[in-house]
Amino acid sequence: MMRSTRADSATLGALAVLCSAGAYWFFLEHGTILGYEDTLSHLLIGRRIVVGQQTGFGQVGGIWLPLPHLLIATLAWIDPLYSSGLAGSLFSMLAYVGTVVALYGVVLVATGDRLGGWVAAAVYGLSASALYLQTTPMGEPLMYLGIVTAILAVLLWHRTERHRWLMVAAMICMLLVLVRYEAWVFSLALWVVVGHVCVAKKYRFMSGDLAGQAYLLVFGTYLALGVGLWLLWDLVIFGDPLAWLHGSYTSFDQTSELSLSQVGNLRLSLETYAYGVRATLGLPVAVLGVVGLLWMLWREGLSPVFTAFLATLAPSAFLVYGLYSGAQPMRVEEIDGDLYNLRMAVVMLLPVALFTGYAVASIPRAHWSARTLRAVATSLVVVLAGAGLQTAAATEGSGVVVAREASQAFAAYAEQRQVGSFIEDHTSGRVLVQSFGNEWIVFPIQRRVVYEGSSDQWRHGLKSPAGPRADIDVVVMRVTPGDTDAPEQHLRHSPAMKHYDVVLATDHFLVWQRGGGAR
């Protein structure tokens, strides 16, 4: 059994690597890897730690959680890896492979059935949305890996009662809370699962050997440490431990001026999210997941294994709340007429995969008819899960809604790319440009950029860019009415700009060069 499961894991891993590489090549060909604006932001943050006018761990900032950027920083100093996005995509791809294998492991440990494990792995691994997302330098694939491996570790602890698995789960969660904020809610849910396991095993909390108390404390401590370290970081960098929540450039800050129909409307928020799930997972797969959930609830009741599976719904619940509160916008064609942040729904793949795998695993094997049923069910699941791939191939990627969203976003920033290319090809020296909102401009010239995270250099640049303390050669201003940036607000009509001439003027941008000729 051990040898066969190891062989399964190795085979799955190999297949996942092939799928991952194939997907990367496919979407690279269609130019959708660096579509989302956030992909550039992640790469920029990671690279700034090691390359730029001001480097250091302070460049991680205090809004986005740091772990993906720290990983990107290990490769982003290599220019080709940075400019292609592979410095970040590589970690997403590795995370994808790990998630596929881990899903197999979770269902195997939960049910003892290898076929169920394969089904769970297939539901996730063959999903076009998951395959696209793993080609991008985003934090979601890393979070998926953390979620599934944490559940696997908890289940192993539940089955074997070996404390090391609980400690592994705790440490995974400690790192996971440094990836994405949805993981905070998931980790809390997993903590509840740990408590449930302790209650189910009749561990004692207030008397006797205090095993339940010890396990809860250990898990909770690592979880709290991860969160605490991030709060401490914000306190040190910004003087406010909650700067990530209500500071500048946070989600709340960005969405506060938008009128989002989902804000304050729970029904609409749920509906939006449901449309998102349908678009990213496909209705048949989503239905399979619901059936699997109900089937498992009926068979197992509220067992610790069921609640562990249920914990994977926590990120989605958090995201629905994000829609409701306005912290995390998401737009779907059915309601808003366009696409935005649909990738937030892809996390539902995890519970769907687990519950579907469980459902197949629970089909008995004793009789030939049952074995036939298992084979049919497995085939059906695989076909449905892989349906998205067919669509992707047929539509050259545009049939994958998350890829389509990325393409649309990519197309929307053509002007910024033009400005960035111009600065890269026709100017030299330090560039003063606000990074937020101008990522496509900053991306190719990152090494030369003085931006809002450059502390003193930025402040001096906004006062006297030509002065010795700033020594700026190029200034970029966003002049879009109602959406100007800091250089425009501080310098457009400032006498400090007398040393500069406009060398490029587009609909939304002005590029100034020190001592350059007008074009």
Partner: protein
């Protein structure tokens, strides 16, 4: 006099194996004592170092301090890395294979029991050795006492010792201490193997047999095994609990097994040390700083690695040839572990254990720990007298690891308050000087060591607690670890003062054992209980019972709804029923009060009878002997 098969050929095989190892082809390891803290060369070196440091500060204080920071960071990195490597290696280790030995083939064994000012522990020692499964005709237990400790000597003489026990009185001569006493006693040892047990130790019954079997297994493999160390465990790291999970207490309300937050931490430290660190060292064939008790040696090995007689203190009736332990080193066992390795022998942790009693209070912890840490410092300083020669003799890697393990422990505890203090000062003041002191890479390394390193050490402790099923210790580890580490750092600084002022060292610096202890909270609760009991015993004035007034008879039959003429009568009927119910409730309450008052004399009588019974029990002799003293209130 013990008898039994002569195992000397076996132990000589071990010595011969050591002679054949590569260690013997290196320069001979010259054991030196810690009679002086610093040698002349070390004093000169220290003076030069201080002078250079002061000069550096005068020339460029920032770069000088940065150099110091770099040295501290390098040391911390190496120390932590060693700890992680050892913990990982311990997961790979296996207990050495043993060769079964029939009872009739068991060799002679000598156990040394050094005691000072422990008259109350004689019975404990005897009971512990009585429980050991070893042929009595081949067992020699030496009570190693000090001639000047008349109380313990007299207590030992008065005690009805078994035949295999002997009393050895160490002559009164400086230096006083356990190692000198054991050296003196060694000349009376007739066993082929020797082990030291402290007074409070309770070895598991098969320990001596297992040690012999382990040595025999090593002989067969041709391995030069010079020492086997049993793991030590603190019995009182967790309270004894009943089936319902309640803490068991004696009739006076004291815990059957007194446990405090100190014993919890000490227990976990022992688990980490004896189940992770030492096994890791043993697995990697590195020198093992021995644990002070439950170390088993072939006597021939002790003689082989003994100090030269001329460096041993002169004692009447002592030929100074059995100087196995450094009389001036308060952790003579750790130093012996290094000497054993330097002479080509290995040390193994074998599958046995000894239960000990941990100290219970912070002050006692500081007292004990300062002694251990001081000994580590002494051992390191002795080792560094001839660093090149000793490194070549031990092997460079072994030398470095041993130095890191003993000296590094001392140094890390000493530096911890400095590094944490610097961190706190920076966070509070944002001092630009401190910022300048830590340029980028140094800052990141420092933060990583501070945060990640300490977290990793805490993780190791938590893992040890969970592995040992010491679940009750987890909350202490999580909430009191900074306090515990501070305590250890205080001990390190106390040790430094003791080293700096030689008049304080060496001494028995004894840890008291066999104490009955209660936390302040527990003592307060017991006091409250005693007060409540005293109230119950006071006579209560009882009022005479009161008679209840008779219930007046009803004037006529109660109206019913049917008999009533209409709605108004119906309302009157309902009201009447409600009034009746209220009256019935009042009557019942009065009756309960009357019953309670008439029951008072009964309760007083019961309380009086209970107090009389307790008084009778205090006077009556105990039904069974209680050598451990848990219920007899033994105090010092």
């Amino acid at each position: 006099m013990t008898t039994g098969p002569d195992d000397s050929s076996g132990v000589h095989a071990i010595v011969a194996a050591a002679h054949r190892t590569g260690a013997r082809r290196r320069p001979v390891y010259l054991r030196q004592t810690a009679q002086r803290t610093l040698s002349n060369g070390q004093r000169a070196f220290a003076a030069v170092a201080v002078a250079l440091f002061v000069m550096g500060l005068l020339i460029d204080d920032l770069w000088t301090m940065r150099l110091l920071v770099v040295l501290v960071l390098v040391f911390s990195t190496l120390f932590l890395a060693l700890r992680f490597v050892l913990v990982y290696a311990s997961t790979r280790r296996r207990y050495p294979e043993r060769r079964a030995v029939a009872t009739e083939d068991l060799p002679r064994y000598t156990t040394l029991h050094p005691m000072y000012d422990e008259a109350n522990m004689i019975a404990v020692v005897v009971a512990a050795m009585e429980a050991v499964d070893y042929p009595r005709d081949r067992l020699q237990c030496l009570l190693v006492l000090e001639e000047r400790d008349r109380a313990t000597v007299e207590a030992a003489r008065r005690f009805d010792l078994p035949d295999y026990f002997q009393i050895v009185e160490t002559p009164t001569a400086r230096p006083f201490g356990k190692p000198k006493a054991c050296n003196h006693a060694l000349q009376f040892a007739t066993g082929d193997y020797v082990v030291i047990f402290d007074a409070e130790d309770r070895p598991e019954p098969q320990q001596l047999r297992r040690a012999v079997e382990t040595f025999r297994g090593a002989e067969e493999r041709g391995e030069p095994l010079g020492c086997v160390q049993a793991r030590l465990a603190f019995e009182n790291q967790a309270p004894v609990k009943g089936l319902l999970g309640e803490v068991l207490r004696d009739r006076d309300g004291y815990d059957v097994r007194p446990t405090t937050w100190c014993t919890r931490f000490l227990g976990i430290e022992y688990t980490v040390h004896f189940q992770m660190v030492l096994p890791g060292l043993s697995h990697l064939r590195l020198p093992v700083p021995l644990g002070g008790t439950s170390n088993h040696f072939p006597l021939a090995v002790l003689r082989d690695v003994a100090f030269q007689p001329e460096v041993m203190p002169e004692l009447p009736g002592d030929d100074r040839t059995t100087g196995a332990w450094d009389p001036w080193n308060v952790t003579e066992d750790a130093e012996l572990g290094g000497a054993i390795a330097a002479n080509g022998y290995t040390t193994a942790v074998f599958d046995s254990w000894t239960d000990e009693e941990a100290v219970q209070t912070p002050l006692a912890t500081i007292n004990q720990r300062s002694r251990w840490v001081k000994g580590y410092a002494q051992t390191s300083l002795v080792l560094l007298r001839r660093p090149v020669r000793n490194a070549l003799a031990m092997g460079p890697l072994s030398f470095l690891v041993f130095l890191l393990q003993v000296g590094g422990t001392y140094l890390s505890l000493l530096l911890a308050p400095v590094t944490w203090g610097l961190t706190i000062v920076f966070v509070v003041t944002r001092s630009t000087y401190i910022i300048a002191l830590f340029p980028g890479p140094l800052l990141y390394l420092g933060v990583l060591l501070n945060v990640g390193g300490n977290l990793a050490l805490l993780t190791i402790s938590l893992g040890a607690a969970l592995r040992d099923r010491q679940f009750g210790a987890v909350r202490y580890l999580l909430f009191f670890t900074p306090l515990w580490w501070s305590l250890l750092s205080v001990a390190a600084w106390v040790a430094t003062l003791e080293l700096a002022f030689p008049g304080w060292r060496p001494s028995w610096n004894k840890t008291a054992h066999g104490l009955r202890y209660a936390t302040r909270r527990r003592a307060a609760w017991l006091a409250v209980q005693r007060q409540v009991r005293s109230w119950e015993e006071r006579p209560v004035r009882v009022a005479p019972p009161r008679t209840l007034p008779a219930r007046p008879a009803l004037a006529g039959p109660l109206p019913t709804a049917r008999s009533a003429g209409g709605p108004a009568d119906e309302r009157a009927f309902v009201q009447l029923m409600a009034n009746e119910r209220a009256e019935a409730a009042r009557r019942a309450a009065r009756a309960r009060r009357a019953t309670a008052r008439t029951a008072e004399p009964t309760r007083v009588a019961v309380a009086q009878r209970r107090a009389a019974a307790q008084q009778a029990r205090r006077v009556a002799p105990p039904l069974h002997s209680d050598p451990a003293g848990f219920g007899s209130g033994i105090t010092t």
